[in-house]
């Protein structure tokens, strides 16, 4: 079972990440400077958080396209709120999370209680959120306080804030996975019917998975605003496909039941690192898309091969 455990706990993608990072650092020694590491993680954090959120939904067997809309919406809202200082940043965080959770609740209600296919329903909510974002912020810009722009992208005791946030999310998942809510989430991803007959409130669990997702998208949008010190009504668009690529890279199974948030965090980080890595070894930017596409296919094949080996062992 060790291979399976490695795949599930994200150890596999961790190893991949470290290998790529090692090569990258060998080619580009300045990659190891504190500034570079901080910059790399600042750059990775929004995608990591978005992928973490999407994982909650994918684990229960669902799908959430609203990631692009929610990030655009929250990013725009953050940029029109003019609160300064640490307290202001906390206040904005509160509002951002509220909006994210609200969008998640709508998705969750429509999918879990109105029983509408997740892809279709979240496609609609994504479009609606993009529209609202355009109403709130007509063009990129807005205001992001210096506290958010500098402190949230800086370091605390020499440790970049972005690494701390990612670590906290990983810890949260570590605990959540062991709670009843976490077990039930994984259970319905494996077999929704059996879960229902086991007494799990399937609709409620699905509903909350979307709420978690919404909250994490909001967090992603919040840190995106901090990193770019600006807001944009189309900020979420690049996240749409990248988020799912990151989740896939982390080894979480589409269809649910297998994988985890930590793996997705690392998958997202790997995706961002990949861009740096390809740049450093001199791959023309024309072909980075091709490399990314191939890597996604290979990652899924690899994770599938691991599952195959595990299944084989279970049978014999």
């Amino acid at each position: 079972m060790t291979i399976k455990k490695m795949a599930d706990s994200g150890l596999m993608i961790m190893v991949i990440y470290l290998i790529i990072f090692a090569i990258y650092a060998a080619v580009q020694p300045s990659a190891l400077s504190a500034y570079s590491i901080q910059g790399l993680f600042n750059n990775s954090l929004p995608l990591m958080l978005a992928a973490a959120g999407a994982t909650f939904v994918i684990l229960q067997g669902g799908f959430d396209l609203s990631v692009a809309g929610t990030i655009s919406l929250v990013n725009s809202i953050v940029a029109v709120l003019q609160f300064d200082g640490a307290i202001g940043a906390v206040g904005i965080l509160g509002i951002a999370l509220t909006v994210g959770i609200l969008v998640g609740a709508i998705n969750g209600f429509v999918v879990a209680y109105l029983k509408i296919q997740a892809i279709a329903a979240t496609l609609a909510t994504m479009i609606i959120c993009q529209g609202i974002a355009l109403l709130i912020l007509r063009a990129p810009g807005g205001y992001v306080s210096d506290f958010m722009a500098y402190e949230l992208t800086g370091s605390v005791l020499e440790v970049p804030v972005s690494i701390i946030v990612a670590f906290l999310v990983a810890m949260l998942w570590f605990v959540f996975r062991r709670t009843n809510a976490g077990r039930n989430l994984l259970a319905i991803g494996q077999d929704a019917k059996a879960s229902e007959l086991s007494g799990i409130d399937v609709a409620r669990t699905k509903f909350f998975s979307f709420i978690w997702a919404g909250a994490f998208y909001a967090l992603a949008a919040y840190f995106l605003a901090a990193q770019t010190s600006t807001g944009s009504p189309s900020a979420g668009e690049p996240f749409l496909l990248l988020t799912f690529a990151a989740v896939a890279l982390g080894g979480t199974a589409f269809g649910g039941g297998r994988g985890g948030v930590t793996a997705s965090l690392l998958g997202a980080a790997t995706l961002v690192l990949m861009q740096k890595f390809l740049f450093s070894i001199g791959v023309s930017s024309f072909y980075t898309g091709m490399v990314q596409g191939l890597i996604m296919i290979l990652a899924v094949l690899f994770s599938g091969a691991v599952q195959f080996v595990v299944d084989k062992r279970n049978i014999t």
């Binding site: 580009q28 300045s30 990659a31 500034y35 570079s36 910059g39 790399l40 750059n43 929004p46 995608l47 974002a133 355009l134 912020l137 007509r138 063009a139 990129p140 810009g141 722009a149 992208t153 995106l224 990193q227 770019t228 010190s229 600006t230 944009s232 009504p233 189309s234 668009e237 690049p238 961002v272 861009q275 740096k276 740049f279 450093s280 023309s284 930017s285 024309f286």
Partner: protein, 394 residues
């Protein structure tokens, strides 16, 4: 700390060349590739072919991606970065970091609000208000018009439209019948204009940003005998149409103005002169450099015989370039090194060598908050007409 002074960039790559990066938002439309090709051609023109190593990087539409690419370029020891920035704010921190490392940043067309970067742009030159006034003049101050805008949620589109609305709002006779986003693209412009025409076949004029040639096609598709006055940007198709007597008879008149790809060439040459020490760097509050607004009316359209803008010509025959080709790739005064092949293929003109820029080339651009500066005030005469005079009073 942030205000740390800049040391002059001296480091060249190991083989003695300047390492210059060309960073694009996304490639794929005529404008972007022409602008990139101009830089590529200049970098291959002697003596730069011996002294410059140019690397092209495409960052897509995601500011985060461009941030990451800038960081990589800085880490790789870039001497200068010529770039079309994706966001006017998001790149600031990275740009500042690069400046501190001694990297020269030259933005063309789009701008950043970080003061240490040079912005070479026409944006502040009043495209919106001047074309709007020209359209009002054509319409005699009255009529139903369409606004064919750019990309939703884009600050350049917002600046242009604000300028135009500043004028239109002064004329109660002007009614904006429809306003739609055309993504600065011929095809989308054509589709969106078609939709608007279905509701308002009696439109009197169109104010368009890039993609304007699509609007003409939509008009012809709806009614092949009726065109209306319109203003648009610099596509070759539009200029040919403006000068086309048959189209004029159907009602087409107007002005071609807007974003010139040649901005990238000026940015690159300025940067190289500063790197080579031929030109002093400017203080941080004077780094917004205005590129003059091209302005071509039907009467001004003049076909080029050769492959450059010679004798004041400004349009190419239809069999030489596609209709979506953006003219204004040349500037005989500032960029005499270029030919049509430079813009289309990125190849240098045989026999050409880099000519120094005239001394007085730098025209400072006015401050515009959110466009080229932060925490600054816009001048009171922000939307003052610079190119055209009102011929009708409100």
């Amino acid at each position: 700390m942030l205000a740390a002074g800049m040391q002059p960039a001296e480091a060249k790559t190991e083989d003695g060349k300047w390492l210059i990066y060309l960073s694009l938002s996304y490639s794929g439309n005529s404008w972007q590739s022409e602008a990139a090709n101009i830089v590529k051609a200049l970098a291959k023109t002697p003596p730069y072919d011996e002294t410059v190593e140019l690397v092209e990087v495409i960052s897509g539409t995601d500011p985060q991606s461009q941030i990451s690419d800038y960081e990589s370029m800085i880490a790789n020891g870039a001497d200068g970065i010529v770039s079309f920035p994706i966001s006017s704010n998001a790149l600031n921190r990275t740009v500042r970091h690069g400046c501190e490392q001694g990297v020269l940043f030259f933005m063309y067309d789009a701008t950043v609000t970080e003061q240490c970067a040079y912005n070479v742009s026409y944006i502040t030159s009043g495209f919106g208000e001047n074309t709007a006034q020209a359209l009002v003049n054509e319409l005699g101050g009255e009529g139903k018009i369409f606004l064919s805008r750019g990309v939703p949620g884009n600050s350049v589109d917002e600046r242009h439209t604000n300028g135009a609305m500043h004028i239109f709002n002064q004329y109660p006779g002007i009614e904006i019948a429809a306003e739609y986003y055309s993504n600065w693209d011929d095809r989308t412009t054509q589709q969106e204009t078609s939709k608007a025409l279905a509701a308002h076949p009696d439109v009197d004029g169109i104010w368009a940003q890039a993609g304007e040639y699509g609007a003409i096609q939509a008009l012809l598709q709806a009614d092949e005998n009726r065109l209306v006055p319109m203003t648009g940007e610099n596509s070759n198709g539009f200029r040919l149409a403006l000068a086309n007597e048959e189209y004029q008879a159907k009602g087409l008149s107007g002005v071609s103005a807007g974003s010139p790809p040649a901005q990238s060439g000026l940015a690159f040459k300025l940067m190289m002169e500063m790197l080579e020490g031929e030109r002093d760097e400017l203080p941080e509050d004077q780094r917004n450099i205005q590129y003059p607004l091209p302005w071509v009316t039907a009467d001004d359209v003049k076909l080029c015989e050769g492959d450059t803008f010679e004798d004041g010509c400004n349009t190419f025959p239809g069999d030489k370039v596609p209709s979506s080709f953006v003219t204004e790739v040349f500037n005989p005064e500032l960029l005499p090194e270029l030919s049509l092949a430079s813009a289309l293929e990125g190849t240098p003109t045989p026999g050409a060598t880099i000519q120094p820029l005239p001394a007085g080339v730098i025209e400072n651009a006015p401050n515009e908050p959110g466009i080229n500066c932060r925490n600054c005030d816009a001048p009171e005469n922000l939307y003052e007409l610079t190119t055209v005079e009102p011929t009708v009073s409100p």
